[in-house]
Every structure is written in structure tokens, then in C-alpha cells.
Amino acid sequence: MTVYGADKRHHTLTVVVENKSGVLARVAGLFSRRGYNIYSLAVAPTDDERFSRITIVVDVESSPLEQIIHQLDKLVPVVSITELDPARSRERELLLATVEAGPETRGKVIELVGVFEGKIVDVGMDRLTVMLAGAPSKVDDFEDLIRGYGIVEMQRTGRVALPMLDRPGRTPHLRGLRGARTGKAG
């Protein structure tokens, strides 16, 4: 499997968009027609109901990040774009998986979930549905380990992220807040 936590090819963009119908299609359409690859994508409303936040992990080998950001910024409903440096932001992802857990392995699966501080959210006769929320690299590790027991079904949300908070001794977290000075033209 691909481990994407530590991968330099991937960058996380937090894109604040107007909360209107069709905006996701505009963003996704831009990526496909300009030949950029989306690695993962998560959308949810923000605390301000006029806006949604799209967290996109982009594969920057497909195109220079600067070009992706400028083209995204040209979309009229895109309000701001923040590029999050993985080293200076808090990234989380949720994994849900149904795992084979017969009599011999059930205890081991439960133990593994405990070690990772995950949760068991459903129990069947010989299967368990488990949940883990955490940093993407931790979720990757967990996925690798439970794979050995047999994954019946699995779903990951894609990452969401927020910048690390400023405090003395930390360098500023944002590599660039697009939209303020750069503006857009069309």
C-alpha cells in the first residue's frame, strides 16, 4: 500500500469555498481538466454557514504546486487557499474497518485497537468493526497491522488539517495564505 504520511510529493491545501451547489464539481473539474491529481479530499461546512472547507491532498509530481494554487484561486467561489506544511500543522484522518476476528484472533485484534487507542464500534459473531482517528502516519501503521487479520471492508475519510497554533518558540505555521495579496483575475 502507499504510505502517504511522510511523502514529500503530497501537499495539503485547505480551500475555503462558498457554500453553494456545484462548488465541489468546479474544484474537482479543475483538477481533472488541468491534469492534476487529487490524493484525498474532504469537504465539510465551516463554523460560518456561508462557507465550506475543502481539504485537498495533492500529488505535486503531477504539476507545480504554485500553478495548482493559482488556478484554484481563479475559481470565483474559492475564497482562500492555505497551504499547510505537514510539519507545522495538525492533520487527522478517520479509519473505519471491519476485520475478521474469529475466536483465535479476536483477542489480538482487540489488543491492537487498544494499543492504538482506537475503538470497537460494532461486534459480530466473527468480525469486528473498528475505528481509529489519528495522524495519517499512525492510521497507515494501524491499517498495515490489521491487514494481517483480514480486512473485510475499509473506509478512510481523507485528511483534514488545521495549522499549528502560534506560541513562543514555534515558527509561523503558514507557508502562504493565498488570496489576500495575490488576488485573482479570472
Binding site: 493559482h70 484561486d73 481563479k74 470565483v76 482562500s80 488576488g183 485573482k184 483575475a185 479570472g186
Partner: protein, 607 residues
């Protein structure tokens, strides 16, 4: 005041000072056509919606104002997709209003339903589906704002039939009422970058200004002229920028690119500084990008930040409006001590003139004109190239084959210099751009980025509607003409006296040229026939005057006759040499250093 959505829509267009729109009614847009009867807006009924879109483009290019087209849902809307894509590529401000099936029917595959906002998402600057009549005035105001500001472009407003029929309370939004929180067009450039650009300009020894369509969009032609004259830097004007700097100016090198002249192409290749103003390093200009202008530093000014570093990394990339940035650049050059010269024209900083930048105050060779000492060797080199590799063709006298270049030269010399020339796409377009002398902004209209055959006839009609005071000549190919000729019916019935010169070589000429040069003279599906259709008979059937020209002696009289007709369109069928090719040519994918000049200018042809 209560209005229907349809009335509010027309009222909103009136508020935007729309004087004319181009369209064709149908089921879903019917409610909007009713208030048109009572409106001050002139509606021009086209014969195909593609014509409406290209007319709106021609109107916009000729006037600098947004073009407006109106179409019905489904096929009406899909027929305007090509003009939208064309306008998107060439940054033409266009507002297209499309009808849509009633909101209750959207998504049910209703009669004449198409997801036009989905279809046009990638070829419009933005589009809107209006679901509430109360939004109509605000959306129209937003649509015009987006279409005309920053980097201009086409927008589409999709209006469901029930939204047009239902009543709404009329209002007109204040600028602050627009709901565009993410839209912030660029204006002026970053002063620190402008200063760096000015320093590069003064340090360069082999500089070239690479001026594109953005100069016309920004109305920056006066500033460009002053910049060129004060710095003594020669100017190439791209296909989209032709006319933004006078061809008659000693500093003008003409058009670069795949069919650009040798000096324009080679000056860029050998330059040590390219000052790109409103141009976008299009592949047709750069040739193979890895080999493009290898020694040049790049100053790139564009209103669209996404154009900077997209194709070629800029040493100084300035996001901003060309007119404002050029003014800043001139001020920075002042600050760095660049003297004003006698040749310097005034006008900087004021409102742009819609007239011209006019003919140059002084004439003479490139090297003699306002020489900054540092540039003398460079300008001598350019003059040398101009002498060695002028554009050439050979028109045999008498009854030999009529050369398209001869037709264009005769046409150019027989029409006033502010004539608007509109071209389709292909050989005729390249010949026209090469052989015309463009001395005024907005006198050259063509389909550059998308390369839309069939553009010329409808675009010329739109241009003539926008500039009835000007003579409008479409230079078209026979292949192009057949794609949209039916709009001459529109022109005849609306009394729009455009003039069409068909350079009829009986072929899809540019494709034929490529097949001759790169496919071993294997001609596949390019022959059209000179006589089928009968262009003169067809023109007359459409209410135009039709004239056929088959020999050199007939050229000038036919043009004079056409120029004298001002009450209906004229179509002149020039039977030209099918084997004439456009030179110079940089083969597709090749380096600009591999430019192929006219056979008579090649090494082996020299004594």
C-alpha cells in the same frame, strides 16, 4: 415594483447599458423574449446560436464592451459552447443568457434539457444557475463584473423558465451587494518587482517587448508606445495583440510565432530580455519550449497570476493590469534616470484614448530611431535580419494563379487604415495577419487560442454592429466560410453591411500545407472544390452582392466595387492559388531556431 423574472432580466441588462444582443428564441427562453419587444436593447436574430456567440465576441473585440448573447435551453445552449470556449481562450468578455427547463423539471431529462452550467464549467470564467427570481438583478450585475474585470472572459447565466415567469420585487444592487467574496481582480503591480523589472530593462543589451492581447484588453496601447519609445526596445505583437503597437512604427517587428516573420521570431530567440506584457507564452509563439529564447531573462506582466511561471519561469513576474503596471514601470524608469526623448509621446497616466496611438512621430530605420547607445548593435542586427528575410511572395503577372498575398495587399491598400479586419482560422488568417498593416488597436479580430473555423462571418457582423462607423472586412477561407455563412442572412435582413473576402483555394488549406510538408504529400480529406458551392450564387441567395475574381486585373475593381456598397453585405470569391503555402513556418514541436523561410530565401537559393 413587481416584475416578472423575465422583465427583471431585461431590465438588468438595460441597467448594464447593453445596447445590443444576439440571440435566437426557443421554448425555455420564451418568457424572456416577451419583454424584449418593449426594451431599448436591439436584438439581432441569428440563424444559428453559434453565430450569436461569435457575433457577441466580434462586438466585444471591436468595442471593448462585453458582448451579450441569448439562447434557449438544450440545443440552443449547447450550440453556444464553441463561442464560449473561444472567448475563454482569448479572454473576451461575454455574457450568455440561456433558458433552462423549469426548476421542477431539472434533472428529469426533460425536453430540451441540458446541464449547461456543468457543460460550460471548464470554458467559462464563471456561470450561474438562477433558482430564485429575486437573485436575477444581483446575478446579472455579478456576471458583468466577472466578465469584464481582471482577466476578461465569458460567463453564462442559466435561467429556468419558471424563474423567468414568476414575479419578483425589482431592485438594482449596489456594488457592495454583490456576493463575490472570493473574487478580487488584480490591479497595480508590486512596486518592488516593478523596480526590478525597470533595472533589467535598463541593463539589457538585446531586449524585446513581447506584447499580447492583454495590451488591448487593458487599453494599455498608449503606455506601451511610450515605454517602447523611451527605452528604444523593439516590439513584437502576437496574433492576439496585432494592432496594439503600430506596424508602421520603426520599433515594430511584427508577429512572432509559428507563422511569424523571421525577425520577430529570431529576435525573441536571441534576446537577452523578453518583456512579456499581456502575453502568455503560447505554444504557437514559443515553439519547443525547452529551446525558446534560451538566453533571455523574462519580465512577465499579466493580470492573471496563474499565467506567471505557467510555461516559462519569469525572472520578474508581476501580477497586475498592464496599463497600470506599464505606468508604474515608466515611473520607475524615471526614478532610475532614463531620460525622456523628443520622440516620447504624452498621454501616460490619463484615460486611455480609444483612438489610436497614431503613426510614429519620426520614421526611419530601426537603428536610427531614438538610439540608446547600448541597443545600437542589437537594432543593427534586427535591421539586418529584416533586410535579409522580409515577407515575400511571387505574383506572376497576367493570367497566372492569383496569390492570396496579392489579394490582401491590394485589399489593404484600397481600404482605410482604420478598417476592422476579421479572420477565421487557417492559411487566410496567417496571410492576413502577415500582410495587413495594423496601425490601430482593435482593428484585428480573429480566433486565436481556440482556432475556431467559421469565426469570421459572424464575428465581422458583431464588429460592424459595434462599430457601424468603420468598414469591416472579413478575410475568410472557403472551408471556414461554409461553416457559418448562413449568418449573412442575418446580416442582410438586419442591414449590416459587412464585406467578406473569401480566399477560395478549394482546400482546407492549412491542413493541405501540413500534409504536403509533413505527410509526404498524401492529401487526405482536404479537397473542397472551388465551384461547389457556387459562392456568388449562394451570396446572392442570402441577400448579399456576390462577386467572383479569377485574375489579378479583376482584384482591384472588385474591391472598389465592394467598398462602394454600403446597404448590404458583399461577398467576393477570390479564386486563389491552391498551392501557396504560408512561410515562414516553425514546424509543430520544433524549436524556433528551425524556422523554415520562403524557398527563395533559403541558403541553397542564394547566389
Amino acid at each position: 415594483m413587481e416584475l416578472t423574472g423575465a422583465q427583471a432580466l431585461i431590465r438588468s441588462l438595460e441597467m448594464q447599458e447593453v445596447e445590443v444582443m444576439f440571440g435566437l428564441p426557443g421554448g425555455a427562453i420564451l418568457p424572456v423574449y416577451d419583454p424584449i419587444i418593449d426594451s431599448s436593447i436591439r436584438h439581432i436574430l441569428v440563424r444559428h446560436e453559434q453565430g450569436a456567440g461569435h457575433m457577441a465576441e466580434g462586438y466585444a473585440q471591436a468595442t471593448g464592451r462585453p458582448g451579450v448573447a441569448m439562447v434557449t435551453s438544450g440545443p440552443g445552449a449547447t450550440n453556444v459552447v464553441t463561442p464560449l470556449a473561444d472567448a475563454y481562450m482569448d479572454s473576451i468578455p461575454l455574457v450568455v443568457v440561456s433558458g433552462q427547463v423549469p426548476t421542477s423539471a431539472i434533472g428529469t431529462d426533460a425536453f430540451q434539457e441540458s446541464d449547461i452550467t456543468g457543460i460550460t464549467m471548464g470554458i467559462t470564467k464563471h456561470n450561474w444557475l438562477v433558482t430564485d427570481g429575486a437573485d436575477i438583478p444581483r446575478v446579472v450585475a455579478e456576471a458583468f463584473t466577472v466578465a469584464t474585470s481582471g482577466r476578461p472572459g465569458p460567463v453564462l447565466v442559466d435561467v429556468p423558465k419558471d424563474v423567468a415567469q414568476r414575479p419578483m420585487e425589482w431592485y438594482w444592487p449596489e456594488p457592495d451587494d454583490l456576493d463575490l467574496p472570493g473574487y478580487r481582480p488584480m490591479t497595480d503591480g508590486d512596486p518592488a518587482l516593478v523596480r526590478q523589472a525597470a533595472e533589467l530593462i535598463l541593463a539589457a543589451e538585446k531586449p524585446v517587448i513581447y506584447a499580447g492581447g492583454g495590451i488591448l484588453k487593458a487599453r494599455a496601447w498608449d503606455g506601451l508606445c511610450e515605454l517602447a519609445e523611451r527605452t528604444g526596445i523593439p516590439v513584437v505583437t502576437t496574433l492576439m495583440g496585432r494592432g496594439c503597437f503600430p506596424d508602421s512604427h520603426p520599433l515594430c517587428l511584427g508577429m512572432p510565432g509559428m507563422h511569424g516573420n523571421y525577425t520577430a521570431v529570431t529576435s525573441m530567440q536571441r534576446s537577452d530580455l523578453l518583456v512579456a506584457l499581456g502575453s502568455r507564452f503560447d505554444d504557437r509563439v514559443t515553439g519547443r519550449i525547452a529551446d525558446f529564447a534560451p538566453e533571455a531573462k523574462i519580465v512577465h506582466v499579466d493580470v492573471d497570476p496563474a499565467e506567471l511561471n505557467k510555461v516559462r519561469r519569469a525572472d520578474v513576474g508581476i501580477a497586475g493590469d498592464c496599463r497600470l503596471v506599464i505606468d508604474e514601470l515608466l515611473a520607475a524608469l524615471d526614478a532610475l534616470g532614463l531620460p525622456h526623448s523628443d520622440a516620447t509621446r504624452g498621454g501616460r497616466g490619463g484615460a486611455p484614448s480609444d483612438a489610436v496611438a497614431g503613426a510614429p512621430a519620426t520614421t526611419g530605420s530601426l537603428a536610427a530611431h531614438h538610439p540608446r547607445e547600448r541597443l545600437i548593435p542589437w537594432r543593427a542586427q534586427l535591421t539586418e535580419w529584416q533586410r535579409t528575410y522580409p515577407l515575400v511572395y511571387d505574383q506572376p503577372p497576367g493570367a497566372g494563379a492569383l496569390k492570396p498575398q496579392f489579394v490582401l495587399e491590394t485589399l489593404r491598400d484600397a481600404t482605410s487604415e482604420d478598417t476592422i479586419v476579421v479572420a477565421g482560422v487557417g492559411q487566410h488568417q496567417m496571410f492576413a495577419s502577415q500582410w495587413w498593416q495594423f496601425d490601430h488597436p482593435r482593428t484585428w479580430i480573429n480566433s486565436g487560442g481556440l482556432g475556431t473555423m467559421g469565426f469570421a462571418v459572424p464575428a465581422s457582423i458583431g464588429a460592424k454592429v459595434g462599430r457601424p462607423d468603420r468598414t469591416v472586412w472579413a478575410v475568410d477561407g472557403d472551408g471556414c466560410f461554409q461553416m457559418t455563412a448562413q449568418e449573412l442572412v442575418t446580416a442582410s435582413s438586419e442591414r449590416i453591411p459587412v464585406k467578406i473576402a473569401i480566399l477560395n483555394n478549394a482546400y482546407l488549406g492549412m491542413v493541405r500545407q501540413w500534409q504536403e510538408m509533413f505527410y509526404g504529400e498524401r492529401y487526405s480529406e482536404v479537397y473542397l472544390s472551388p465551384d461547389l458551392p457556387d459562392y456568388v450564387g449562394w451570396a446572392e441567395a442570402m441577400g448579399c452582392v456576390g462577386i467572383r475574381v479569377e485574375s489579378t486585373e479583376e482584384v482591384a475593381p472588385a474591391i472598389d466595387k465592394a467598398n462602394d456598397i454600403d446597404d448590404r453585405p458583399v461577398v467576393v470569391d477570390f479564386r486563389v492559388d491552391a498551392f501557396e503555402k504560408v512561410f515562414p513556418m516553425v514546424p509543430a514541436g520544433a524549436s524556433n531556431d528551425e524556422i523554415v523561410v520562403d524557398p527563395t530565401q533559403r541558403e541553397e537559393a542564394r547566389p
